[in-house]
């Protein structure tokens, strides 16, 4: 990646979510994304758990949402865009449609997330919101969760996938 390609510019703010406890974001992906951000030479915000922060209605979320509304670009590396938008809404800081790019660490490989975060790759943003068409990936995720014993071990029959 060239130097230019990794510049986010002053009007870009990046937010990285570490997603604690449930292991729904693969550890290798969130680890590699953090390494990529930390090695980029750019400043960024990192939170232990965006869900926890939203539940506290942390005013910092309102600041970030306001930035995006004020013309800056807010890039968020977390999970499904629908969930992230819901969390900002719950925190009384709804995100606008413009200026917000959400990268999904649940479904994308770290390189794609980093391409979206550091270079504003529109393809990575679009893929983040697209549905899972790879049942195997989801099964692998469920297996990982079961193995870690963090969520109920028995999946009810007929579970919605």
């Amino acid at each position: 990646m060239s130097d230019d390609a990794t510049r986010t510019g002053p009007a870009v703010r990046m937010l990285y979510c570490r997603c604690a406890f449930a292991q729904v974001v693969p550890a290798d992906v969130k680890g590699a994304v953090l390494e990529g951000l930390a090695g980029s030479g750019q400043g960024f915000e990192a939170v232990a758990d965006l869900c926890d922060m939203a539940a506290r209605r942390d005013p910092h979320l309102a600041d970030l949402a306001a930035l995006a509304k004020g013309g800056a670009t807010l890039r968020i590396a977390a999970c499904w865009p629908r969930a992230v938008r819901g969390l900002f809404h719950l925190a009384d800081s709804p995100l606008g449609d413009a200026g917000v790019e959400i990268l999904n660490m649940r479904t994308l490989p770290a390189e794609r997330v980093l391409a979206g975060m550091l270079s504003g790759d529109p393809g990575a943003v679009a893929e983040s919101a697209a549905g899972r068409d790879d049942a195997a990936a989801e099964q692998a995720a469920a297996g990982r969760i079961a193995a870690l014993g963090q969520l109920p071990q028995s999946t009810p029959e007929g579970e919605t996938r």
Partner: protein, 297 residues
């Protein structure tokens, strides 16, 4: 009950003027260690220094020629520490010391609060209030405009996504759930159909899931009084509830922790009343309900 009234404390890792930058891998390791402890971290570079707010209590960096004085927006003095030559674990220790009595939640560690609660998709929600009347734990409430609001996230039962099953519009997400669309994945037409089917299952089981739970709980209680073995009675109660639990994906621990049948009844009536009031409020605001058309007293 966990209090969510306080913000998670924030650490600024400063690498702007007057400080030496850390090497990339070192920086990643330090940020990861602070995050895993529960802190928020702002990595502030030249020209992008973070505004200190009341959540910020410490700035760490490899300062050259002495640590600068930093003051937060609310005039609280922010501690500044030089982390030159310290390992990430030592920096976390330093930050823990500087935090003093500021509360910190390390999600997932020990008995700390686990951020598990419903998140509403405002685009899909029709404010029908079915979730509000379903939940026995006062997780839901309404805002000043009589719209649904997740009022008490910490009242939610960890790993229980049951209310997402009662939403006819598939608007309830649990971001840490393992499968879509409950985890926030896009909702397909098939999902809408499937979710409706789940509601039908609970209807087949007796219309009102809690009414059925109540019944089962009472049955289990009667059995318990007849059984000589408490273990046997408990096993029976679990067996009775299995079908219901599977229909709504309610974890057994949540069912086992349900209050007494009387308390369930009281809470359901209360929740239904609040839902009805919210719907009446909505109708009045839209000028379509009885409150809007009835003459003022």
């Amino acid at each position: 009950m966990t209090t969510l009234a306080t913000r998670q404390p924030r650490v600024v890792l400063y690498e702007g003027s007057g400080a030496e930058p850390l090497a990339g891998p070192e920086r990643a390791e330090l940020v990861a260690s602070l995050l895993d402890r529960g802190y928020s971290v702002t990595l502030a570079h030249e020209g992008a220094a973070a505004a200190a707010d009341e959540a910020t209590f410490v700035v760490v960096g490899r300062f050259v020629g002495g640590a600068p004085l930093v003051t937060a927006a609310d005039a609280t003095k922010v501690e500044v520490h030089d982390c030159t030559g310290r390992t990430p674990a030592e920096v976390v220790g330093l930050v823990d010391g500087a935090r003093a009595d500021r509360p910190l939640n390390t999600p997932g560690a020990g008995d700390s609060w686990k951020p598990w609660f419903p998140v509403i998709d405002p685009v899909r929600c029709t404010n029908c209030m079915q979730c509000l009347s379903f939940c026995l734990f006062d997780v839901y409430g309404v805002d000043a405009d009589h719209r649904l609001r997740v009022e008490n996230p910490s009242n939610c039962k960890v790993n229980c996504p049951a209310c997402s099953r009662v939403c006819p519009d598939v608007a309830i997400m649990f971001p840490k759930y393992h499968a879509g669309p409950i985890d926030g994945a896009p909702v397909s037409q098939t999902d809408v159909g499937r979710e409706k089917m789940k509601i039908d299952i609970s209807a087949l089981l007796g219309g009102d899931l809690y009414a059925r739970l109540r019944e089962r709980s009472a049955e289990a209680k009667n059995r318990f009084s007849r059984e000589r073995s408490a273990d046997q009675a408990l096993a029976e109660r679990r067996r009775c509830l299995t079908k219901l639990a599977d229909a709504a994906a309610i974890p057994r621990e949540v069912l086992d922790a349900l209050p007494s049948p009387e308390e369930i009844q009281r809470k359901s009536a209360e929740a239904a009343k609040r839902a009805a009031a919210a719907l009446a409020g909505q109708a009045a605001a839209e000028g379509t309900g009885p409150a809007a058309s009835s003459p003022s007293a």
